[in-house]
């Protein structure tokens, strides 16, 4: 009863024979390795690119710098002698361009009353954010608070003045009075 064993041995050999045939040749193997190297290189580059994207704090810094530059350019645009001194040239506004809307005393008062509900920190953040508070709103608020030269100073300086003179100092008097 040796036959069945022989049959098994033959089938294994056939299987191995076919399997060996299916293995890649040296040339194919080399080609595969090269392809994988290219894929690995692509993912490594991708990782580096993701790593080099700016983190949150950098994005905030850039945004803040943009705001400062925007304010600075606005100040220069409104002050021809400063612009000339800095060698900046601004195109004269087109006749059809709408003038900046000036907000009324009443609107200034309304904004002031809204801000009064917030903490000093929150007021500062809200006023510094040009997306939330426009420059004309800031200037209207400054006029309401009796802050002069509001149109000649940068956003940062104007916000600092509004926050300190309009809110923080008054709150300070209350803090000190409550201690007496």
């Amino acid at each position: 009863m040796k036959k069945p064993t022989d049959k098994i041995e033959h089938s294994i050999l056939d299987f191995l024979d076919q399997t060996i045939d299916r293995f890649p040749s040296d040339a194919e193997r080399e080609k595969m390795i090269k392809s994988l190297d290219v894929i690995i290189g692509y993912f490594r580059d991708l990782r580096e690119h993701v790593e080099s994207l700016p983190p949150d704090h950098n994005q905030k810094e850039v945004l803040s710098a943009i705001n400062i530059i925007r304010d600075f350019l606005q100040s220069a645009e409104e002050n021809p002698s400063l612009a000339a001194a800095l060698g900046l040239h601004f195109e004269k506004p087109m006749a059809s361009r709408k003038p900046r809307r000036r907000i009324s005393q009443a609107e200034g008062e309304k904004i002031f009353n809204e801000l009064k509900q917030l903490t000093t920190e929150q007021i500062q953040q809200r006023l510094l954010d040009f997306k939330v508070t426009s420059m004309s709103e800031l200037q209207g608020l400054a006029t309401y608070l009796g802050i002069k030269e509001a149109e000649k100073i940068s956003r940062q300086t104007l916000v600092d003045k509004i926050v300190k003179i309009g809110f923080a100092n008054v709150r300070g008097y209350e803090i000190l009075r409550s201690k007496e």
Partner: protein, 303 residues
């Protein structure tokens, strides 16, 4: 490192404003490390550096100069670093005077002067009495000791009196600077002030000698004229005469540079910012005056 007290027992003669602006100019223009110490219960220097809300937050979290004296009165150890406020001057939330720190004051210092006076040492032993006398006047000096290495200048703003808190400031100082308006009432007190400070130096030196502790004397570092009145571009007669008189009496002590009367300071004070960081012609004029005074300060009192 130099410790300088700004002093005059007359109020309203620009002590806090001058100390503050010299401190800011040293940090901003000369890149120096400066510690401002407010020992005046009026807290003017503290409120020139920060808005009251921030001061209150700092006080609640860390304490003020009053905490140092309270610890002494309660015989407790005290870490001076705990009341050190790093770079308190801010504009729209951003720190704007790097290198300038503050030890803030508190209205509670008013009561502390009295408490210090009430803390007596009754004894027939002269060394015990002398030791108590020295201890009462070296609380601030000991409190500032950990900071000696960290700063180029420590500037102390004194209250308009010569009680124990002020005597502590003098005992901690290498020299003192007097600010004065060049008018009759302001300058008449200069000689009295100098005499009193010398008297304090003598008594402290004597008490220190008994307990064999060497205590440096606080010398007059200079007199700065403030609020000088101009008629056009020329100093008015009365002020010019008084300035000449004081310069003659205190040879080489009166600063050549001075500040003039103006509104730039009050605008800056309202914003808790030094004039150097303000816009406008008034602020620029005042800023230039303080830059010149600071340059002279550096020559007269090098760190």
């Amino acid at each position: 490192m130099k410790v300088v007290s700004f002093i005059n027992y007359k109020g309203g003669v620009g002590k806090s404003t001058t100390a503050y602006h010299i401190g800011c100019a040293l940090a901003l223009d000369h890149g120096m490390k400066v510690l401002m110490v407010d020992v005046d219960p009026q807290t003017n220097l503290s409120f020139l550096c920060a808005i009251p809300e921030r001061w209150q937050e700092f006080k609640n979290a860390h304490g003020t100069l009053a905490s140092l004296y309270q610890a002494y009165l309660n015989n407790q150890p005290f870490n001076g670093e705990s009341i050190l406020w790093k770079e308190p001057i801010e504009k729209a939330g951003a720190k704007v005077v790097h290198g300038l720190d503050l030890i803030p004051s508190d209205v509670e210092l008013l009561g502390i002067d009295l408490d210090l006076m009430l803390k007596t040492a009754s004894s027939n032993d002269l060394s015990i009495v002398a030791s108590h006398y020295v201890k009462q006047r070296t609380i601030l000096r000991n409190g500032l000791e950990p900071f000696q290495e960290n700063y180029d200048y420590i500037l102390i703003d004194c209250p308009p009196n010569l009680y124990l808190v002020t005597q502590n400031a003098l005992a901690a100082s290498d020299c003192y600077v007097v600010t004065a308006v060049p008018d009759h009432l302001s300058t008449i007190g200069l000689s009295i002030l100098e005499e009193r400070v010398n008297d304090n130096n003598r008594k402290l030196g004597y008490a220190g000698g008994i307990i064999r502790e060497e205590l440096a004397k606080s010398e007059l570092g200079g007199i700065i004229f403030v609020k000088v009145r101009l008629g056009g571009t020329v100093i008015t007669n009365v002020h010019a005469r008084k300035m000449a008189e004081v310069s003659g009496r205190y040879v080489n002590k009166a600063f050549e540079h001075y500040t003039t009367e103006g509104i730039g300071y009050s605008e800056a004070a309202e914003s808790a910012l030094p004039v150097f960081l303000m816009d406008g012609a008034n602020a620029r004029r005042v800023a230039d005056q303080y830059r010149e005074i600071t340059a002279e300060f550096l020559k007269r009192i090098p760190s």
